[in-house]
């Protein structure tokens, strides 16, 4: 199965898009093709438990008659299958009521050449991935901990083409790896992860070492009472919280009065000078001075694609020095409000202050080091309050030093408040998230008054 799926090269992908669009009789059409040859390898209790290798193609076609439109997806690429898919989606579209918010397909534009492809990653075989995994499992065995890990080698491409003449093809490769180590006694648990574009940058031994070290260090945790406290959040925790914030920076929700920004903005502007435009939160100082979030598709540490649905994705500050700089604006909403459309970010980069984790810890008199979060869910959309738990290594900080493991906590906190209360930051890292796959390069943070709601017995 070393073979690449059809559609991985721009030429193949163009031919496929043209085959589909050539069958369409509707007024307009847009086709997206996603191909992937993924390898997944999973281990638990220091043995491989399962794997999968799958070549996959997904063709997603949207057709419109005037303002009536419908979509279809299929993984079948024979002429007969494509013809039938086109006929079916055309039949559906004719039956759909007119959507007053329907827009014609996106016009072609210039896109930056993405930097998401590395040949050695694409060339890796299943034997290679097992070869990567085996040493870390042996490392865990040697350290007398139980490990569970997941490795995903991803190679694929996406193409977008439409009846306005747009065609854009972007290939990507990546390797993601995460490992949990658990001690045989004392309930120690540690986790570490990495994600790279280029397989040569993989250093799984170092990741395994971090997970094992955290597991050993987190044995026999003491109970520290819950309550609002200063915390140091490692990058894995930071990325999960920031993803939740960025997902909710949506202009239409704000204009419709159902965003967390409605109350946040109104509270903030009531303090500002008269004459502030109360209908536009862009340019308002809503977060702490140190809060800066940028989408940068060409950031070499965590690149992403350079378009979103055909709209060019370029370096865009979303929050700069605490000031809101951008919100997602859909094409229809942009037209209606007479503002510029803003695609969702494809990655998030947060430049840090450059302090090491030890330096961050040294600045905390009494607090908690949180290495990872888990099961984050919205509790109150009006404030963006989310709940979740700490996991896989939580430690007390006393007088600027780590003071032993503590039991995990449930927290109730809004990521907007986290960005208000951040005091200092460290060095950016690309790590995997608990529940979100967006590439992110973010530093650890010191955050004051973080709301630890209760103690969890989980270890």
């Amino acid at each position: 199965m070393g073979l690449m799926p059809v559609g991985i090269t721009p030429d193949e992908s163009k031919v496929l898009c043209q085959r589909v669009l050539g069958l369409v009789q509707a007024d307009s059409a847009e086709v997206r093709v996603a191909v992937a040859a993924d390898q997944h390898l999973r281990s638990a209790n220091n043995d491989i438990t399962s794997n999968s290798i799958a070549n996959r193609i997904a063709i997603h076609l949207t057709v419109s008659y005037g303002q009536r439109s419908a979509s279809i997806s299929t993984n079948q690429t024979s002429d007969a299958a494509l013809r039938e898919a086109v006929e079916k989606v055309q039949a559906l579209a004719r039956l759909v009521p007119k959507d007053p918010e329907h827009l014609p397909p996106v016009e072609p534009a210039d896109y930056d050449e993405p930097i998401m492809w590395a040949e050695p990653t694409a060339a890796a075989t299943p034997a290679d991935t097992i070869g990567w995994m085996r040493p870390v499992i042996e490392q865990a065995r040697a350290a007398r901990v139980e490990s569970a890990a997941y490795l995903i080698r991803r190679v694929g491409a996406t193409a977008l083409s439409n009846s306005c003449g747009l065609f854009v093809h972007q290939p990507h490769t990546s390797v993601g790896f995460s490992m949990t180590a658990r001690t045989l006694t004392g309930n120690g648990s540690g986790w570490a992860s990495t994600q790279v574009t280029h397989a040569h940058n993989l250093d799984l031994t170092r990741i395994a070492e971090q997970a094992i070290r955290k597991a050993i260090d987190s044995r026999n945790p003491a109970e520290r009472p819950a309550g609002r406290t200063t915390v140091v959040l490692e990058s894995a925790a930071v990325r999960d919280l920031l993803a939740l914030l960025v997902e909710n920076l949506d202009r239409r929700s704000f204009d419709e009065g159902r965003s967390f920004l409605n109350s946040l903005f109104s509270n903030e502007t009531s303090l500002e000078k008269p004459g502030t435009d109360r209908r536009d939160p862009i340019g308002s100082h809503l977060f702490g001075d140190k809060a800066t979030l940028v989408c940068d598709p060409l950031c070499p540490e965590a690149p992403c694609g350079t378009h979103d649905g055909g709209l060019p994705l370029v370096r865009t500050p979303w929050i700069e020095g605490g000031v809101l700089k951008a919100m997602h604006v859909g094409r229809f909403w942009a037209l209606k409000q007479g503002i510029k459309a803003q695609p969702s970010p494809g990655n998030i980069i947060m430049p840090g202050d450059g302090l090491t984790l030890e330096e961050l810890i040294s600045r905390v008199e009494d607090g908690v080091l949180i290495t990872r979060l888990w099961y984050l869910r919205m509790v109150q959309p009006q404030t963006l309050l989310h709940t979740g738990l700490t996991r896989d290594g939580t430690f007390a900080i006393v007088h600027g030093k780590l003071a032993g493991p503590v039991k995990n906590f449930r927290f109730n906190e809004s990521p907007a408040t986290v960005l208000k209360n951040m005091v200092a930051s460290g060095i950016g890292q690309r790590v995997l998230g608990g529940e979100n796959a967006m590439p992110m390069h973010v530093p650890p943070l010191i955050v004051k008054d973080f709301n630890l709601s209760s103690v969890s017995d989980a270890s």
């Binding site: 638990a44 997806s73 569970a148 919205m378 969890s456």
Partner: protein, 541 residues
């Protein structure tokens, strides 16, 4: 456009056109049926000849259709079909697996070779071999009984119904209303080297809506999502639901919620409706009693479990009122199927997870029973797509009614001095060993002196799974039983989504920790009308 206008505009030609739109799927399925035994022999023989001690071959076809409407706009009509196959092998005590959308003979041979190669690459350094039990061979065919095939219902009918829901909501004063309908058909074929050849087909459907009311002067908003859970059922389920009535009630309740007093945090008695409790069962009993999870197989993702094998037959998981059973045979159950994805027959394998408060059994897939000294799987394997390795997933897991069939939810409420009656599920979160949970809901009715007296807002309940179920002191009778459930429960790496139902009766729990979510967000609240920040938003379930 209202529903009647919309129906008038549709043409007979349109209706007939649409009735045939899934023909290709049916033709493909028929062609697999005709050749399945011969087709399956190719990878199974290949795997055996390469040294596999066990192999199975899966073909899976998934068709789905999803509709989304916002106010009077139809903004999503999406059809989806996937078709592919996989080969799983056990060689020298190691699993190998490969999948493809290519079902040619050449590809099937290649899949078997790839799967065997992966398994062999673990040779010489595995610590423990995978061992599986011998399963009986089944030659079976099962089709889920439904009344109306949702794939044969005209698009206009479905769209008309969604637009009517939205119109009922906005007509009653909602600022926004969105509604959706999703339907899925899974067809699966399974053959294995034990000699089984199984063909199965099932359908599920998920209608839902969410209303929002806003108060721009106060920068406030509140929402209420519908209580209609997904079901393993045909279109008749959606057709017979009173969605219009529920949409009107939802608007009323969202409005009331926006001005309701904020709850005072503390210990309170709760009466929880099945529309909320199903999810609590899912998180606090369903996931903790997955045997692979308890044994560390999910440690790197979903976590492990407080509920370890040494607690079998000894742990007091709940009070004597609590019996929670598991099955894959319940009518309209989302997990209902005749054979699981390991080829285990599910009829007769129903089991109690908790029997009168005592923990009695785990959910298992192939090769796991021996870990707890039992002889065979209880039929809980599932793969969510043709490219997914089958893993242990939840059967339908349900709270049995109390012994007195006459007990109503009012009877349970009558036994509460000060408390809350909670309806509808909303936000949920639980730790990676399933001790500490926190749930919210859609509607929180205040109980005082055994009666409902208005509403609260800003409510979340928090607790420990075992303490919570031990605090249960009353259950509704048979007639109060309702089936809730989830379309997409996540587990595994890569993630797999499984549908599962949870039946429940209303239940009463004493002295549960209630939080005020506005306090948690750091906002000062007063327990009276009119302060800013409050209410709840329903996420799509």
């Amino acid at each position: 456009m209202n529903r009647r206008d919309w129906m008038k505009r549709t043409t007979a030609a349109g209706l007939s056109l649409i009735a045939n739109r899934w023909q290709r799927s049916m033709a493909e399925a028929a062609s697999v049926n005709d050749h399945f035994i011969r087709l399956a022999d190719i990878p199974l023989n290949k795997a055996t000849s390469l040294g596999a001690s066990f192999a199975d071959f899966h073909i899976m076809q998934t068709d789905s259709e999803s509709l989304f409407a916002r106010e009077q706009m139809v903004q999503g009509v999406v059809a989806e079909s996937t078709f592919g196959c996989s080969v799983r092998v056990l060689v020298d005590g190691a699993w190998g697996f490969a999948a493809s959308d290519d079902r040619s003979e050449e590809s099937l041979v290649q899949l078997a070779e790839s799967a065997v190669a992966i398994a062999r690459a673990q040779g010489g350094w595995r610590r423990r071999p995978v061992e599986i039990e011998i399963l009986p061979a089944f030659n079976g065919r099962w089709e889920q009984p439904i009344e109306v095939d949702p794939f044969a219902v005209a698009l206009e009918e479905k769209i008309g119904r969604l637009l009517a829901i939205n119109q009922a909501a906005t007509g009653s004063g909602a600022t926004f209303c969105s509604s959706h309908l999703s339907q899925v058909r899974e067809r699966k074929w399974l053959a294995n080297t034990f000699g089984s050849h199984i063909e199965q087909s099932r359908v599920r459907i998920f209608p839902g809506a969410s209303v929002t009311v806003t108060d721009p002067r106060k920068n406030e908003f509140a929402t209420r999502a519908s209580f209609s859970p997904p079901r393993g059922a045909g279109y008749e389920y959606f057709r017979d639901l009173d969605c219009i009535g529920d949409a009107r009630l939802a608007v009323e309740q969202a409005r009331e919620k926006m001005v309701a007093p904020s709850v005072v945090a503390g210990k309170l008695d709760l009466v929880i409706a099945p529309s909320n409790l199903w999810l609590t069962i899912h998180e606090t009993v369903g996931h903790p009693t997955e045997l692979d999870r308890a044994m560390g197989f999910e440690a790197n993702y979903a976590g492990t479990s407080f509920c370890t094998p040494d607690k079998l037959d000894t742990l007091r998981y709940g009070s004597e009122h609590v019996t929670i059973g598991a099955d894959r045979t319940a009518l309209n159950g989302l997990s209902t199927i005749a054979y699981d994805d390991d080829g285990v027959e599910t009829a007769g394998r129903e089991f109690a997870i908790i029997d009168r408060g005592v923990f009695r059994n785990f959910q298992m897939a192939l090769g796991q029973a021996a870990w707890i000294g039992r002889t065979s799987s209880n039929g809980c394997a599932y793969a969510d797509s043709f490219e997914a390795f089958p893993i242990q997933r939840m059967p339908n897991i349900s709270l049995k009614p109390g012994p007195d069939p006459s007990v109503t939810v009012q009877d349970l409420i009558a036994g509460v001095e000060d408390g809350i009656y909670i309806e509808g599920n909303n936000s949920w979160s639980i730790d990676q060993q399933r001790y500490n949970f926190q749930f919210t809901g859609q509607v929180f009715h205040k109980i005082h002196h055994g009666k409902l007296v208005g509403m609260y807002r800003d409510v979340a309940y928090q607790g420990n799974s075992v303490d919570f179920w031990n605090a249960c002191d009353g259950l509704g009778g048979e007639k109060t039983y309702e089936l809730g459930g989830a379309f997409n429960c996540g587990k595994g790496q890569p993630g797999q989504a499984a549908p599962v139902s949870h039946g429940a009766v209303p239940a009463r729990f004493r002295q549960i920790n209630v939080l005020n979510t506005s306090d948690e967000a750091g906002n000062k609240t007063v327990a009276s009308n009119g302060n800013c920040n409050g209410g709840k938003l329903g996420q799509w379930g």
